[in-house]
């Protein structure tokens, strides 16, 4: 396996609130290599977006505070980079697309101007070269009639087209890493398929590393090679998609997989349920934060927070009493 282009070690991001300081992300380790898509899954509040925003230091500090850890990109620790160097990197070598393109795009600038702005900031292209590149980018992301669409304002574009504009902006400087935070959640399923297919094609063509953040396990199953499952600010299981979908070792991962209605679940029969609700930041239990909802819990779970440990076959899980491995069929 090639050296990871981006690796996050022991990331801890906290938020200061009127009730005290709480960690939204607490000791996260993930890495992604070139030409690889890492799917980051978890339910609301699990810390997946905070992790993504921490990479580019896009969180307002305060109330957020990156307390510990390192984020290594091409040998440099982004957390220790001076602001101007980080700004140079942000949007050019590490780019990001967001869930809601309507709020992420500037409503008073045309699509073309917004894409061009990225080039203006990060390259020394002249105006004509930038214009040509904008059209090239819009073609690349499959925008219909790009020459006229670049003069449209975001409200004149459909949801799918707005997301294409965002992707064009992200790709403007050939990034090494693309962070996609719920890029298709606001889109219809047929448009979602178009966008994910586009991201996949571009990833292969430019050998980008993609961090695909989503709550939809189906999306990860189809479009990612690696997966990291987040729960309450931690990675509870990670490894290859194939291995983890076939034989999840952490009870939470298994619960998530089983609670999804799918082709194999019997219709109109009760779905598998993970009892209880996700703990909020303020009231995380001691020890393993999943233990109160866990069917596998043993006494030690109450006192000791489990560390990620290798489960073989390249995957690891943070569990004192992991599920046994399912043999390969």
């Amino acid at each position: 396996m090639s050296e990871p282009i981006l690796s996050i070690r022991g990331l801890r991001t906290t938020f200061r609130t009127p009730y005290g300081v709480f960690p939204a992300v607490d000791g996260v380790d993930i890495e992604v290599s070139k030409g690889e898509t890492l799917g980051i899954v978890g339910e609301s509040g699990c810390g997946k977006s905070v992790t993504a925003l921490s990479i580019l230091r896009l969180l307002p500090e305060p109330p957020a505070c990156i307390e510990a850890g390192e984020i290594l990109f091409a040998g440099k620790d982004l957390l220790r980079l001076p602001p101007d160097e980080l700004r140079e990197l942000r949007g050019s070598r590490v780019a990001m697309i967001f869930q809601e393109p309507m709020t992420a795009l500037n409503p008073v600038l045309t699509a073309g101007v917004q894409i061009e702005e990225v080039l203006e900031v990060h390259t020394d292209m002249d105006r004509a070269a930038r214009r040509a590149r904008v059209i090239e980018l819009l073609k690349l992301v499959g925008m219909p009639s790009p020459e006229s669409r670049l003069r449209d304002y975001p409200h004149q574009l459909s949801g799918g087209m707005r997301q294409r504009v965002m992707i064009a902006m992200a790709l403007a400087c050939d990034p090494d890493v693309l962070i996609a935070d719920e890029p298709t959640t606001a889109l219809d399923v047929t448009i979602q398929a178009q966008i994910l297919e586009l991201l996949d094609t571009l990833k292969q063509r430019f050998q980008m590393a993609v961090l695909l953040i989503t709550h939809d396990l189906g999306v990860v199953a189809e479009w990612a090679q690696k997966i990291a499952v987040f729960y309450a600010g931690r990675v509870v299981e990670k490894g290859s998609v194939e291995e983890i979908f076939r034989s999840p070792r952490h009870p939470y991962t298994q619960g998530l997989l089983l609670s999804m209605p799918g082709e194999t679940t019997a219709r109109r029969t009760p779905l598998h349920v993970i009892p209880g609700v996700v703990p909020d930041l303020v009231s995380r239990p001691s020890g393993c934060s999943f233990r109160e909802r866990c069917t596998q819990a043993v006494p030690i779970c109450e006192s000791v927070d489990p560390e990620l440990a290798s489960m073989g076959a390249g995957s690891s899980a943070a569990c004192h009493n992991p599920l046994s491995a399912v043999g390969r069929a």
Binding site: T190, Q194, G218, P261, R267
Partner: protein
């Protein structure tokens, strides 16, 4: 087959909008010629992408908005011609659960007041009976009787959706229109609510019109499924038949677009966006995106017809 609980025929709704600088009139063809039946105690799924008119169909049936043409017959009554008093009586038998449990509960009403409101409006119970019934309903949906005195903001999304369900159940309706009831919930909570809805149907025997964009969820809960595209029903069949052998290219594309773990298959990625319902394409409104369209499709509107036993498709080329 017995008389259906609900029969909808030729339902139509256009929303007028002002367009152009002289204010010339145009209209959004939100619902066009929709036929639907729901039997007692069954679940009918209504699926489609945003703007296809599925929510409007639900609202027209409940008469939360007025339709322009068509028939809605519920338990033998003509819903469209009911006067105010009769309509109020009808609402006891037809209830609704909304998508967003944060927006659909009045933040200034306690949970008990919200659930008991229908009983109060219809003067169905004395105050003490009402309290007892509210407590009972809260327990039915898996909450505690003591929650009645608390306010919606004190609860999580899943709990709020349970409160919305208890409110819909209060008047013992025969039909519940559930409009995206689990779309705003996390996967693990979604499963809890779906199980609750199925369990309640077993206990009380009401029918659901289950409106959703999520094909996985619809497949799981529905007996029969109608697929909508640009205001029209394009396919209508039992859940098994539809998911096993879709008879409309749009349904086929929708199904293949749903990402599913552990499935290796050919994906049909549709090109283009859903056209504007302001100016739907000629002929079959799906033809500009359809991978198998022929020349006829751009000229002639396909009728919804039975292409296999109890399996209806509005495609010139069906059966496939």
């Amino acid at each position: 087959m017995s008389e259906p609980l609900l029969r909808v025929r030729g339902l139509r709704k256009y929303f007028p909008i002002r367009a152009g600088f002289l204010g010339s009139r145009a209209s959004v063809h939100a619902v066009e010629d929709v036929d639907l039946t729901i039997q007692t105690g069954e679940t009918v799924g209504l699926v489609g992408e945003s703007g296809c008119g599925k929510t409007t169909v639900g609202r027209l049936i409940l008469r939360l908005i007025e339709s322009d043409a068509g028939q809605i017959e519920f338990m033998g009554e003509d819903v469209r011609s009911l006067g105010r008093r009769a309509l109020r009586a009808l609402r006891r038998r037809m209830q609704v659960i909304f998508q967003d449990p944060y927006a659909s509960l009045n933040p200034r009403m306690t949970v008990g007041e919200a659930i008991g409101e229908g009983l109060y409006i219809h003067r169905l119970a004395t105050a003490s009976e009402r309290h007892r019934r509210v407590a009972e309903l809260l327990e039915i949906v898996g909450m505690k009787a003591s929650h009645a005195s608390r306010y919606p903001h004190e609860f999580s999304g899943g709990q709020r959706q349970r409160i919305g369900i208890a409110r819909a159940l209060a008047l013992e309706p025969q039909l519940i229109v559930a409009d995206e009831p689990v779309s705003s919930l996390d996967v693990s909570i979604q499963a809890q609510i779906l199980n609750l809805l199925l369990d309640l149907q077993k206990r009380f025997g009401m029918a659901y019109l289950f409106i959703s964009h999520d094909l996985r969820v619809v497949r799981h809960v529905s007996d029969r499924v109608a697929v909508m595209y640009l205001g029209r029903i394009v396919e209508w069949a039992s859940s098994e038949d539809l998911y096993r052998g879709a008879q409309h290219p749009y349904t086929q594309a929708l199904l293949s677009a749903v990402p599913e773990p552990g499935r290796l298959r050919q994906r049909t990625v549709l090109s283009g966006d859903v056209p504007s319902p302001l100016a739907p394409p000629s002929g079959c409104s799906f033809h500009p995106r359809c991978p198998v369209a022929v020349e006829l499709c751009s000229r002639e509107l396909p009728e919804l017809r039975e292409v296999k036993s109890q399996h209806f498709s509005a495609c010139h080329l069906a059966p496939f």
